[in-house]
Amino acid sequence: MDMLSGAVSGKALMHASALVLRFGGLVAVNEVSLTVADREIVGLIGPNGAGKTSLFNILSGQMRPDSGSIRFAGRDLTGASATVCARAGIGRTFQVVKPLGSLTVHENVTVGALLHHPLVVAREIAARIVQRVGMGPLLQRPAGSLTLESRKRLELARALSIEPKILLLDEILAGLNASEVNESIDLIRSFARHDGLAVIMIEHNLHAVMSLADKVVVLDYGRKIAEGRPEEVVRDPAVIAAYLGSDG
């Protein structure tokens, strides 16, 4: 069944197999398998309601899958809590941004850096991360007072702060203008090339996905309908049908 995955070289960092998540009668994620190699950037696309965020929620421990398994960095993380997943090295952003509103930008990121460092060091690391995502001037601003764009960046900074091995980015480019998108593309690329992180990104911006992703996975109605190199996937009739509707 799973002949498509494992196409990219490098050893598997994350391997999810046959994940299923049901909400009552609705199957949000249906037998989805996914392999991510070290330093690989995977684009996760699909129409609204395809189960992309649900898949993220399973992979990051926010939700328990009804069946299937997740291996990450040599460990079995099936059904592990969000805390355990974060400690194992899975960093994520939330599509519906969730800043710690009463803390400053600096403190938000410091909270994550505290996972591996004492406070003094964590504060320094956090300041550097904030700088890196381009929020330097906002360092001391209360997170609750940020614009949506800044909140998205803060999500990214927070996900980085726990020094993850893999980043799950949930539509962090949505709402950005063209030049901001290009900046973010460079930034995401540097996470993989420079920091050696693996990335799974849910993204509607196809330009970003095409230029960044080593591999694209397409979900529709909770099922994986295509997987492969970006230029192959966009030509896949099943993908075109899912996005544009099949001309029956």
Partner: protein, 297 residues
């Protein structure tokens, strides 16, 4: 006459410090961790009763009662809070309301130890070993020290890892978990610190008032008062509970001297409303905001 006069105002000063300490202990879990408990009087009463029982029934120094009270309340806080952590917001508050009510029933019926509704009178034997003093000044020094202890611990937590973790958990649990925070452990730690400090307050109360009965220490009013002082002074700030108590405890004392009964509660209620309306983030919180807006504009 002058000593009576003095004693009256000294008593208000002592109670101001004690209430500030109790409210400060609550502020740690409610103000920082978002755990708005209405069960603090359970820990207060257990601390007081452990002290009184150990001293009057077994004749052992109340200092041992203090240690026992701290151990029992800390353990109990962990055990009873655990199931409540599954509840959020008002549901958590309502669940915690059960504990002082339950403890009051226990104290009323555990006659062999608590002497039930008739209460325990603690014999007046002054000395450091009994923590009973002739002068209220000594109590004032002790109460002030307790208040400053709570303040110091709060400051320390406020500036440290635990404070950040608590605020993270309060602001958004999903985000906190996604950053690797063990949410239940963080909550447990703060609840245990809070309960231990509240038990120390109970110890002080027992050796100061020298009389305990179930309603005087387990009453829901105590839990509510503890919460109100922090809310008025400023939730989630180290200084808030002290400010709240400095404003409200003397006001309550003066009002009960001049009015008593109904009019006192009426004026107290109006003062409370005014505080909440004029300073919704508490006196300290609102002052901070006001200062910030003046500086940035």
């Amino acid at each position: 006459m002058s000593t009576l006069f003095n004693d009256y105002y000294l008593n208000i000063a002592v109670m101001t410090c004690l209430w500030a300490a109790l409210s400060g202990a609550w502020n740690l879990m409610a103000g920082y961790g978002g755990l708005v408990s209405l069960g603090q009087s359970a820990f207060f009463g257990i601390g007081a009763y452990m002290t009184a029982i150990v001293y009057t029934k077994y004749g052992i120094s109340p200092w041992f009662g203090l240690v026992a009270g701290i151990l029992v309340t800390t353990g109990l806080a962990a055990v009873i809070s655990w199931p409540c952590f599954r509840l959020r917001g008002a549901f958590f508050s309502l669940a915690t309301l059960v504990f002082p009510i339950a403890m009051e029933i226990v104290a009323n019926n555990l006659n062999d130890y608590t002497r039930g509704p008739s209460g325990i009178a603690i014999p007046f034997r002054p000395g450091l070993d009994t923590f009973i003093f002739r002068s209220r000044w000594s109590y004032l020094v002790a109460a002030f020290a307790l208040m400053m202890l709570v303040y110091g611990i709060t400051r320390w937590i406020h500036r440290g890892k635990l404070g950040l973790y608590l605020i993270a958990v309060r602001d958004d649990e999903a985000t906190a978990a996604s950053m690797g925070i063990e949410i239940v452990s963080v909550k447990l730690i703060v609840v245990m610190i809070s309960a231990a400090l509240t038990a120390v307050g109970g110890f002080f109360y027992a050796q100061y008032i020298l009389f305990l009965d179930p309603p005087s220490v387990f009453s829901i009013n105590i839990s509510v008062q503890i919460a109100l002082l922090s809310i008025i002074g400023g939730l989630g700030t180290p200084f808030g509970p002290i400010v709240g108590s400095l404003v409200m405890t003397p006001l309550d004392g003066v009002l009960s001297q001049f009015f008593g009964g109904g009019p006192r509660l009426l004026i107290y209620g109006v003062a409370l409303l005014a505080a909440v309306l004029l300073a919704p983030k508490g006196i300290v919180g609102t002052a901070k905001e006001w200062r910030r807006s003046r500086w940035t504009c």
